[in-house]
């Protein structure tokens, strides 16, 4: 097993299946998904509600486990990680941005950004990096504001900064602009693309928003449990 924290590389998703049990019998959400993402590549995944987009993202990000199939990031078999190694993987290799920003209300913007570094006992450096990132996402001067004093777009920018604080190789965003209006969503989408390019990270965004999806290098549609390319108009 390679070191989950240091191994860089491409993302390889192979024959990924996820089945849920229900009173009506097993319900397959993912039925053999294959996906490969190179560093610096940005991928949008679209699809109808309930088609399994978020499930796919959660499995890729190690928040959920597949029924079958593999997810490898570099040499790391994500599904095989357990305990501290799994936490370390999430901490160092993956950055998450959720539709709901999930900022801690008791922490200021900069503290929220630095939060993942607390887990690695590196909060001192984390705060420095967080300040830089907040500046990068356009929130300079708002470091000490609590989330409830920030607008929706600003909160999502903080969430983006938090996802980047540990310099991950994979950035996963689940409907990151779902709660934002168009005017607010657009700069946030720009931000994703910019930071992905700057940091050469793999960016996978799940969205309903086709306009947003078109900004990314690849756009895939999840339908009937499988991914298929969406032809750009």
């Amino acid at each position: 097993m390679t070191d989950a924290s240091t191994e860089a590389g491409v993302l390889r998703v192979s024959q990924l299946c996820k089945t849920y049990s229900s009173p009506a019998g097993p319900h397959g959400v993912l039925s053999g998904v294959d996906l490969g993402v190179e560093p610096g590549e940005t991928v949008a995944i679209v699809g109808a509600s309930g088609c399994g987009k978020s499930t796919l993202l959660n499995i890729i990000g190690s928040l959920d486990r597949p029924t079958s199939g593999t997810v490898r990031l570099g040499d790391v078999d994500v599904a095989a990680l357990e305990g501290d190694r799994l936490a370390e993987f999430r901490r160092k290799r993956v950055g998450f941005v959720f539709q709901d920003h999930h900022l801690l209300p008791q922490c200021t913007a900069i503290e929220n950004v630095a939060l993942p570094t607390v887990a690695s006992n590196d909060a001192v450096n984390g705060l420095r990096r967080a300040a830089d990132l907040l500046s990068r996402v356009g929130l300079e001067g708002r470091e000490n504001d609590f989330p409830q004093r920030l607008s929706g777009g600003e909160r999502q920018r903080v969430a983006v900064a938090r996802a980047l604080v540990n310099d991950p190789s994979l950035l996963l965003c689940d409907e990151p602009t779902g709660n934002l209006d168009r005017a607010t969503a657009s700069p946030v989408a720009d931000l994703f693309c910019e930071v992905a390019a700057e940091r050469h990270v793999m960016l996978i965004v799940v969205t309903h928003n086709l306009e947003l999806a078109r900004r990314f290098s690849r756009c895939l549609e999840l339908r009937d449990g499988r991914l298929s390319p969406v032809h750009q108009p």
Binding site: S54, T55, N58, G61, L63, D64, G83, D84, A87, E88, F89, R90, R91, K92, V94, F96, F98, Q99, D100, H102, L104, P105, Q106, C107, T108, I110, E111, A114, L115, P116, T117, V118, A119, S120, A123, V124, G126, L127, R128, N144, D145, F146, P147, Q148, R162, N166
Partner: protein
């Protein structure tokens, strides 16, 4: 859908959450109601006991002496008696010590009831008591303690019938003379219920009773036809004070002078009536009544006093051998008009002699003058017995000058002036005298016998009344009774007096029964009063439970508030969909109210179980507290209603509080849910108000503490609750202030984020529930700390120091029957019959007179109606010792014991008591008064000093002189304290046991006495500590609830942390740390408040706080709480938390 249906749907939908809330609130309600039920059970059990031990008796007359048994019939014959009272029984009731021929145990506190079989039902239901001579029935308690079976022999030691005060020349003092043994055969053993449980004493919940046939027993103890207890049953069943008043009025019409201890003798010539005492000397009340009756009849009354001279001799005689042996000498007291009540003594020339004799004057009768060859102006010496300070008989002598010679005519001729002296006046010759004092029969000459034959006990000399008083007085005392008869005569001898009945009627009117202690007490009403205000365990339990009840209340409030908080978003939806705010509020109020009602009803059976559990613990684990008292569960509707109402009010207050917080919120803000709302709220909460409250409470607590510590002007319980309450408020408000006012931090290098700082912020986020949790734990910790601070280590009790609880005395002995000589002196011990004086070498013994009364210590579960009083002899007051916690101001540096001298300006009698007994059992305090029945009517006692942790916890203390004056002499001494070196203590104890065995002696080391009191106190404390433990259980319950609730509320947040790469261990640490902060704060606040509240006691009582144990307990609690938190968190923080973040 109607609102009612919506309500039902909501209740059903949130049933799991609601079930948890109801369960927790029910536990809280159970504690509130359960605490009340424990109090009810104490009161109810005591009430049951009170009613059970009195049989059918509603009123009891317990006379200090004996009266005619026929008084019962005379009382029954009074107008209106049958209609109102119906039943009356005359009983002989005696205290005794009991043993068997084969037992080495001699049990004190045995009550002997001599009753006619027909009157036995008055004592309670039971088998018929048709007992043969010498046969007895005993109750099960006594049978068990002495292992008695039917047919066994029981030996009782009883006080022998006395005809003169023991502390007088004619009194009997040695144990052989004052105690008699009565041997009985056990014919029946009766159960302790009903008849077998009869007792007139509230401090003996399981009496040791012996029942004998009245006729045989009365004859056996020389009390034929007499009784000393009258029991009356009231038809009304009330037995109240008003009925007691009417009964006393009927009694006044029924009593005869004989019932009042007075005998009327009309001389053969019918010119004189002599009022004599059945107890040799008349009390001042009897004398006053005799004189008042004489005035009413128009007669003269002369007080006469007779004493015995061992020798009357010329002053120049070389020895007693030459004098007149064993002569009576008389004093005639002037009436108010200066005349000796019409008694005229004349000289040989027939001219009345001058009766103004002064302290040195004496008149001899012609026979004595001739025998001595004395004439007026000669000096004579009289030797006589005097009762010493130690109540032993000493020989004393005085010189007199002969003022004249009295002719042996009129009253001087025979024994008109001489009352009956058993063993003397009934003897046919001097050689047949059987006096209680030593007599040298060899000194009696033939001519003395001739005089006895011709003149009987006619006095050979006359002295002044002052001299007679002096002779009758014990050494060092001046107030002993001295009048042996009052002689009633007409103005002139020729006139004569009316028939005896006329004067007797007048005397009956003048001599009030209550003047001689013949008073009916409403025993049932008294007993019920004692039960109502029992030894304060019930109220003490409630008092100490108050912190537990507070904790329970907080738990109820916390849970109900949590319940409303869950529904914030629903409230927002209702408002957003057009419901009026009032409708929304009512809906949630109805929902909260429903939960509260369900919690209350669920709490009632839990409360009963809780009370039953506490009572079980009291009966089994804390049995020392209750002794033989049978504590039963009593459930009263009042307590259920009050407890339920309190629980309901607390619950509804919590709901209203939560709704009040939400009242001005917009629908939008409510839609964000409680978390969002709270995040916004936290920005607005200021510290000013809680800081202000904290400051004011802290300042007030400091003032109270200073007053309690240095001013000593505050009652300790008041100080305890004031300081404790204020400190809890101050520190909890301080905690709220610390939790409030979230401010942006400005992280700098080196001041990074950490799990701990995040935990602290987590606690601050939910400040209300954090504050409530802290308060809950603080209440429990407070109880535990204060209990520990008050705990007494029996092994550390100081019995050697004079300023300690034992006053330097090593041994304490109590006798069931009074000892008539003072054991303080070797002479006294010898007179008492001690053979081994060597055992007492190097020791100091003090003897104490004790009045009858109830045990005033924590060993008596009932409220003493008339506390026992101990008379402190001058030697004790001179010696001092013991430690006073408080006294009334007294001048100079005088010993506080001097406060007991004399009486106070308001007529009250100064007494000292142990602080614990005065405060908790008698419910009184320093400089407060207690009125108790005395020998001559009610006596007001004023408490002038409080002793700290002393062995005087069962009684109040007053000077022996005051005790004798207001309560009688108690028949002798019944308490003995011995100061002895450790190596002598075993000898002294053995000697006391051997010497006073027949008196039913109980000898204990003072360390054991103090240990017994401390044991009870510690048992109380253990009970209260258990309450603290229950508080902690509630606290832990609350902590767990809050913890789980926090986790549920923050599932998304915690899931995010896992998603961000926090390990599960880190998340567990974070969540647990938030709670641990609250636990630590709660325990710290409770500990500090508890220590400060107990500070006055610790400083003033020099309490030996078990710091190590206390520290260990608190550390253990902390460790357990942390472990519980971590365990709960570990189970709650699992991988499924990620589902929360995924689902969001």
């Amino acid at each position: 859908m109607t609102l009612a249906r919506f309500l039902l749907r909501s209740l059903w939908h949130y049933r799991r959450t609601h079930a948890a809330v109801v369960a927790g609130a029910a536990v809280g309600v159970a504690v509130v109601i359960g605490s009340l039920l424990v109090g009810d059970s104490f009161t109810g059990s005591l009430r049951h006991l009170a009613l059970r031990r009195l049989g059918r008796a509603d009123f009891a007359l317990t006379a200090p002496g004996f009266f005619r048994a026929a008084l019962a019939e005379d009382l029954r014959a009074q107008n209106g008696f049958s209609a109102e009272f119906g039943e009356v029984a005359a009983v002989l009731a005696l205290d005794a010590a009991a043993t068997t021929p084969t037992s080495s145990v001699r049990l004190p506190h045995v009550s002997v009831w001599a009753v006619n079989p027909s009157e036995a039902p008055m004592l309670g239901r039971g088998p018929a008591l048709a007992l043969d001579d010498r046969h007895a029935a005993v109750n099960q308690t006594l049978a068990d303690e002495l292992s008695l079976r039917t047919g066994d022999t029981l030996i009782l030691s009883l006080a022998r019938a006395a005809t003169a005060p023991s502390a007088s020349l004619f009194g009997r003092r040695s144990l052989n003379e004052t105690v008699e043994r009565v041997s009985l055969v056990i014919a029946r053993i009766v159960p302790d219920e009903g008849l077998g449980g009869f007792s007139l004493r509230s401090d003996r919940p399981r009496p040791r009773n012996v029942y004998v046939a009245y006729d045989w027993f009365a004859r056996r103890i020389d009390r034929a036809g007499q009784a000393n207890v009258l029991l009356v049953h009231a038809n009304s069943g009330r037995g109240d004070d008003a009925e007691a008043g009417r009964l006393s009025a009927m009694l006044a019409g029924a009593v005869t002078p004989e019932d009042c201890g007075v005998r009327l003798v009309q001389r053969a010539d019918r010119h004189v009536i002599s009022v004599e005492s059945l107890n040799t000397v008349l009390s001042s009340r009897q004398v006053a009544a005799a004189r008042e009756a004489a005035r009413g009849c128009g007669y003269r009354a002369a007080r006469t006093s007779i004493y015995l001279a061992n020798t009357i001799a010329k002053a120049d005689a070389e020895s007693d051998e030459g004098g007149i042996p064993y002569s009576t000498i008389a004093a005639l007291a002037d009436d108010e008009d200066g005349e000796a009540g019409g008694i005229a003594l004349v000289g040989e020339d027939g001219v009345p002699v001058d009766m103004n004799l002064g302290p040195e004057g004496i008149l001899l009768n012609t026979w004595a003058a001739a025998d001595l060859g004395a004439k007026a102006g000669d000096a004579v010496a009289i030797s006589f017995y005097r009762i010493g300070a130690d109540a032993t008989l000493n020989t004393d002598s005085r010189r007199f000058v002969v003022r004249g010679i009295v002719a042996m005519v009129g009253p001087a001729a025979g024994d008109d002036l001489i009352p009956q002296f058993q063993g003397i006046t009934d003897a046919t010759s001097m050689r047949q005298w059987k006096p209680p004092f030593p007599l040298d029969l060899g000194r009696i000459r033939p001519k003395d016998e001739v005089y006895w034959q011709e003149h009987g006990a006619a006095p050979k000399a006359f002295i002044s009344p002052q001299t007679a008083q002096d002779l009758w007085s014990r050494t060092g005392q001046v107030e002993s009774p001295w009048v042996t008869s009052v002689r009633i005569a007409a103005d002139s001898p020729e006139q004569g007096v009316a028939p005896l009945e006329v004067y007797a009627a007048a005397l009956r009117r003048a001599l009030k029964p209550q003047d001689v202690g013949l008073t009916f007490r409403p025993v049932r009403a008294e007993s019920l009063r004692a039960a109502e205000g029992s030894s304060d365990f019930a109220s003490l339990f409630l008092g100490l439970s108050s912190f537990l009840v507070l904790a329970a209340g907080l738990l109820v409030g916390l849970l109900l508030r949590l319940s409303v908080e869950t529904r914030t978003r629903d409230a927002g939806i209702m408002l957003a969909t057009g419901f009026a705010p009032g409708t929304v509020a009512r809906t949630f109020l109805a929902e909260g109210g429903t939960l509260a009602v369900v919690a209350v009803f669920a709490g009632i059976p839990l409360a009963v179980a809780y009370a039953a559990g506490i009572l079980w613990a009291l009966r089994t684990r804390w049995v020392g507290l209750l002794g033989p008292f049978a504590l039963e569960l009593h459930v009263t509707a009042t307590s259920l209603v009050i407890g339920a109402a309190v629980g309901l009010i607390l619950a509804m207050a919590a709901v209203v509080w939560a709704l009040w917080v939400l009242r001005r919120k917009t629908a939008v803000s409510l839609l964000t849910g409680w978390r969002g709302l709270q995040a916004a709220e936290n920005l607005r909460h200021g510290r000013r108000v809680p800081m202000l409250i904290a400051s004011v409470a802290l300042a007030a607590a400091a003032v109270v503490l200073c007053v309690a510590l240095f001013g000593k002007a505050m009652e300790p319980p008041t100080a305890f609750f004031a300081i404790g309450g204020l400190m809890l408020v101050a520190m909890l408000a301080g905690t709220v202030a610390l939790l409030a006012g979230e401010r942006p931090s400005h992280p700098r290098a080196g001041q990074g984020l950490s799990l701990e700082s995040l935990a602290l912020r987590g606690a601050r986020r939910r400040r209300t529930r954090s504050a409530l949790t802290t308060a809950l734990l603080a209440s429990a910790a407070f109880t535990i700390v204060t209990v520990a601070a008050n705990r007494i280590d029996p092994t550390q009790l100081d019995t050697s120091s004079r300023s300690g609880g034992a006053g330097g005395f090593a041994i304490m002995a109590d006798t069931e029957l009074p000892i008539h000589v003072d054991l303080a002196t070797a002479a006294g011990r010898q007179a008492a019959g001690f053979g081994d004086e060597a055992a007492f070498q190097g020791t100091t013994v003090l003897s104490f007179r004790v009045s009858d009364g109830d045990d005033a210590s924590c060993l008596n579960l009932q409220q003493p109606q008339s506390p026992r009083i101990v008379g402190l002899p001058p030697a004790f007051i001179e010696r001092g010792g013991f430690a006073f916690s408080q006294t009334v101001p007294h001048h100079g540096e005088g010993d506080p014991w001097r406060l007991l001298d004399g009486t106070l300006d308001d007529g009250s009698v100064p007494v000292v008591g142990d602080e614990a007994s005065v405060r908790w059992i008698l419910k009184s305090g320093l400089n407060r008064t207690i009125t108790v029945p005395g020998a001559n009517g009610p006596v007001t006692l004023r408490i002038v000093g409080l002793l700290r942790g002393s062995l005087w916890q069962s009684e109040l203390l007053m000077s022996e002189r005051n005790l004798t004056r207001f309560f009688g002499d108690g028949g002798g001494y019944r308490r003995f304290l011995v100061e002895a070196a450790p190596q002598r203590q075993a000898h002294v104890m053995a000697a006391l046991r051997e010497g006073l065995e027949d008196a039913g002696i109980e000898v204990r080391r003072t360390a054991d006495v103090l240990s017994a009191y401390a044991g009870v106190q510690n048992t109380y404390l253990a009970a209260f500590q258990a309450l603290g433990g229950l508080g902690l259980v509630l606290g832990t319950f609350a902590v767990a609830t809050v913890l789980l609730r926090n986790i549920v509320e923050r599932r998304g947040e915690l899931g995010l942390m896992l998603a961000l790469g926090f390990t599960r261990r880190q998340v567990v640490r974070l969540v647990a740390a938030e709670t641990v902060v609250l636990i630590a704060a709660g325990l710290a606040i409770g500990t500090v408040a508890g220590l400060l509240a107990a500070a006055p006691h610790m400083v003033q009582a020099k309490a030996d706080v078990p710091w190590l144990q206390l520290g260990g307990t608190m550390a253990g609690i902390m460790a357990l709480a942390i472990a519980a938190c971590v365990l709960v968190t570990q189970r709650a923080v699992g991988p499924d938390l990620l589902a929360a973040i995924r689902s969001e």
